[in-house]
Amino acid sequence: MIEWIESVLALTLQVGTVYLLASLGEIYAERSGILNLGLEGIMIMGAASSFIFTLAYGHLAAITVSIIVGVLMSLILALMAVYMRLNQTVAGLALTMLGLGLSGFLASPEVRKVILLALNPSLPEKFLAIQEAPKLPEIPVPTLSEIPVIGCFFRQNALVYFSYAAAPLMWFILFKTRPGLSLRSVGENPAAADAMGVSVFKVRCVATMVSGGFAGLAGAYLFLGFQPFWQEGLTAGKGFIALSLVILSTWNPLRALLGAYLFGGVEVIQYRLQLFGLGALSPYLLAMLPYLVAIAALVAVSIGSVRKRIGAPASLGIPYSREE
């Protein structure tokens, strides 16, 4: 039994980390007033680039490149949403479509081969056609990883450990530091921030880039740390679920930590139910669970927010311009 719990918990952590990494960055973007609906597309670009670069240069390069790719893609959104004042929903959606299309194109066997050879001409032939890459190694923490049940928290790969540290750190920056205050103010009332000499455009741009970097990292983790087998559209809406998680967490990194594991748990339960006697239920029906839970979470938050007066950042989705 303990073993079973431990394995469920370990898997929950691993799935949850995808959501956590993606939503941490998104919280920053939304706190600054930018809805990054491109999350899904950035994540899959992160996954695709980590796939290609792992084969060419190994893990470290792959993760670095994924982050860079994420930042670059979010720059497109920043340009369109912040400077061009275009509708953020549409711009984000376009970015998601770009990510889905571009990743499918670049990682397709034909094109991938061209890219891999360009990156590393000495790459052995067998790497040119495979669909998978080496998984990130687990790094058990001595002693701690021996503890029953919760030991699984300390038998994870480096990116999971990073996410443990990132959540509280992102919380601290957001609520206790000067840049965090500026960021929150810009998202609530950009005119007020502008009047006090805070550059709304710079802050929003940086926050969007943070969300892009984290989304790229989330994609890299999804592929390298969880499921190192490439298939088109492998994010399967995880970016959108992360967006719901941001709302569920009421834009708070620490609550996102809890929420991410909750969503991770839901997904793991769905796998496990398939294994356990519930064969009568089609796996396709069970697979709906994460999406339905995400909708339920949105409904719950929206009922709760009326009562508790927690709302989205007041200027979320509204372009800012000084002279209009």
Partner: protein
């Protein structure tokens, strides 16, 4: 001013245009399309692909009659879904769920066919009208879920409509793997092939023509709804400003319910056009993202029903070109998705150029 770039040559300033002509608007749209193809050719060229050949294939589609007919066929679901989206977007209801609504339309149509095939509940001539009705209702209901959540509980519609896409696709997977699997289909996840009377062959026995009739009727209906009817007026007011709508005594919630239902319903009929006109049965992945393409089409057409029709045919051609590119040049099919996305991005940039003017100012002697 958001963007004010100081350069050695002077300042670059961005100003809102007070108004612009239709001609300017159209030429800017064409300009952004040209820009999109420039970007695409750069991507293709950088990967060592034969760009000119690829473009010849893409634009050759619209010259060869058989391929043009295929493009028109592909454009039907896109057009119907985009017409639905035009209603939703006019209402400022961000329905990103046309894809799921299309799948629900397919399910409804297939359900009617199976009811007839397995149980013979109604006459053969009644099948097509019932399919139309059922796909409209089920597609509409699927969108109505998000509409009701918004109207009743104030849940933003973007994420629910998106999530329901994935759910709808899984419903289809479930059906064709389970209860609706064709007993004579060697275990493949496919439904029974549709009989003749359940196919779109009313006009000249050709789905493309029948479909064209369907989308023309759809465009006319949407145009009429938005310009000449009370609900259409209400939808537009709600889209502009719900507070003003309430002030005018418009029942905002009811309008949202109606608008979202109509939007999903049209996408549902788009689903029908896929199973009855393009594939002839239900199978997983029956839509290669028509519902997402429809969003681009609606944006490109500026929500004008007639332009939606034209833009759909263009994108239908692009989808058709995808198959040809893969077969003749070995360019992966995902290239089409990428091309669509680049076009989408450039349309948005075009919107910006339309609305704002970029002013170059001469440098001034600065004493500070």
């Amino acid at each position: 001013m958001p963007l004010k770039i100081e350069t050695r040559l002077g300042r670059i300033r961005i100003e809102r245009r007070i108004g612009y002509s239709k001609l300017y608007s159209i030429s800017m749209t064409l300009f952004s399309l040209a820009l999109a193809f420039l970007v695409i050719s750069m991507i293709l060229a950088s990967l060592g692909l034969d760009t000119i050949q690829a473009f010849l294939v893409i634009f050759g589609i619209f010259v060869k009659p058989s391929l043009l007919l295929e493009s028109v066929k592909q454009s039907i679901p896109i057009c119907l879904a985009a017409l639905g989206l035009s209603i939703a977007f006019k209402m400022n209801f961000w329905n990103i769920g046309a894809e799921g609504q299309i799948y629900m339309g397919m399910i409804a149509s297939t359900g009617i066919v199976l009811l007839h095939e397995y149980y013979g509940l109604f006459h053969a001539w009644a099948v097509m009208p019932l399919m139309l009705l059922a796909s409209f209702l089920l597609g509409g209901a699927w969108c109505l879920i998000a509409g009701a959540l918004k109207a009743r509980l104030g849940v933003n519609e973007i994420l629910p409509t998106l999530m329901l896409n994935y759910v709808a696709i899984l419903v289809v997977e479930f059906l064709v793997h389970g209860p609706w699997r064709d007993p004579k289909g060697y275990g493949f996840p496919l439904s029974t092939p549709f009989p003749k009377y359940a196919k779109l062959n009313l006009v000249l026995g050709e789905p493309a023509y029948t479909g064209l009739l369907l989308s023309t009727l759809g465009a006319a209906a949407v145009f009429f709804l938005l310009e000449y009817t009370r609900p259409g007026f209400e939808i537009k007011v709600v889209g502009q400003n719900p507070s003003v709508a309430r002030y005018a005594g418009i029942k905002v919630r009811r309008t949202i319910l109606l608008g979202s239902f109509l939007s999903g319903g049209l996408a549902g009929i788009g689903g029908l056009s896929i199973v009855s006109g393009i594939i002839g049965r239900l199978r997983p992945g029956a839509s290669p993202g028509y519902g997402y393409t429809a969003i681009i089409v609606a944006a490109l057409a500026g929500l004008n029903p007639w332009l939606v029709m034209a833009a759909s045919i263009f994108f239908g051609g692009l989808l058709t070109a995808g198959g040809v590119l893969q077969m003749s040049m070995g360019i992966p099919k995902a290239a089409v998705q990428m091309i669509q996305a680049v076009i989408f991005l450039m349309i948005l940039v075009g919107e910006f150029v339309k609305r704002y003017r970029i002013v170059f100012e001469k440098p001034r002697a600065s004493a500070s």
